[in-house]
Symmetry: C2
Subunit: 218 residues, 2 copies
């Protein structure tokens, strides 16, 4: 079996824009969390549960980035949070410029915490700094414990790994120890939580981390 290398250098031209945006958010005492995952990993369901469980503790905003449709933003705006839908029109990720446009449309002077639900994609979003204060990724149990081996950059760039849909673990072969070990090997500083947004299992630890970050920021 042969291995062929198909090289390409990834440009990171938007890093400066991201830094400017991050400083603007910090000045406004607003924490932006960039939430990344595969399609169907359950980003919106996790956000729904998180917003409900935070129970009005923060003034929350949501940017829903999608190639098309507005189903997710409509779902979340039912919870009484400020939400905008950002259409990327085919683009597979959000960058700092797109995030800035969406943030200005949302307005963040009156917000403490903003979740950017990035485009469903385990690859490209990891390559572009959005200006977020924290990067959080989701890996759902049905996707398998080998994902750190195949999509290493996402694990390297994330501050938090949420292993979700743990309520389904009886029907999938998912080795939690192996997954943790693989993620930690790529990124020793990554914080890992195991949660089910459906049953609520494990949500307390994730919320504790979240309020720890947000309280120190605002």
């Amino acid at each position: 079996m042969k291995i062929i290398e198909l090289k390409e250098t990834i440009t990171a031209s938007n890093d400066r824009d991201a830094e400017v945006l991050r400083n603007r958010l910090a000045d406004s005492k607003c924490l932006l969390i960039n939430l990344m995952a595969s399609p169907g990993a359950g980003k919106t369901t996790l956000l729904e549960r998180t917003i409900k469980d935070l129970n009005g503790r923060y003034r929350i905003g949501i940017i829903e980035a999608d190639i098309d449709s507005d189903v997710d933003a409509r779902r979340l705006s039912l919870l009484g949070v400020k939400a905008v839908q950002a259409h990327t029109d085919g683009m597979c990720h959000m960058d700092a410029g797109m995030t800035k446009t969406a943030l200005e449309e949302l307005g963040f002077d009156d917000l403490d915490l903003i979740f950017l639900e990035n485009v469903g994609n385990l690859i490209c979003p990891a390559e572009f700094d959005t200006g977020a204060g924290r990067n959080v990724m989701i890996l759902s149990v049905p996707e398998g414990d080998d994902k750190p081996l195949k999509y290493p950059l996402m694990f390297t760039k994330s501050d938090v790994l949420l292993i979700t849909k743990i309520d389904t673990k009886s029907v999938f072969d998912f080795d939690f120890d192996k997954c943790r070990e693989r993620a930690k090997k790529l990124n020793p500083d990554i914080t890992i939580f195991e949660v089910s947004a459906k049953t609520g299992e494990g949500m307390e630890a994730w919320l504790e981390w979240l309020t720890g970050q947000t309280d120190q920021w605002i």
Copy 2:
């Protein structure tokens, strides 16, 4: 709730290269199938089962495209098929040029059927013609029935939609009728199969389609 459009035109500069490659494969009586799906949808497991069930009927080659690692190519080469691993080194999709490089490395004069397992991504691979004779996509039950709404191009570009992991349907809310309807609305010509590579349910219909395509090609 506001909707913001973040436009970008997707270039399709590799279409001519793809056409040349498609003609070369046709001249060699070799069918290339481009298999696309999200990370963790079960592409490799489906290929494994498909190769086993074809039971030596064709001379099969495999191109495993991944950002990193070679776990999938190693898994499939155990089945006695000719396999190469193509490392995209961060690139989120395969294009015609990369496919040509991998095909030349694999060699296809002595093959009837080649599966290109594209990078796990429901967005970018749909934008680049690889030169394949047929495009096949997988949507697994855990990902949800709303994916045609969010990733329309993938459904538009695929000849076949394989709804997989149907053995797990009891633990997920997946509306098969709605999913079919949404996919058909985007692409009335798409052929849809429901399968489980684990239990074998539904595999016969998929294999029948596959041999129908391959037999007319070779």
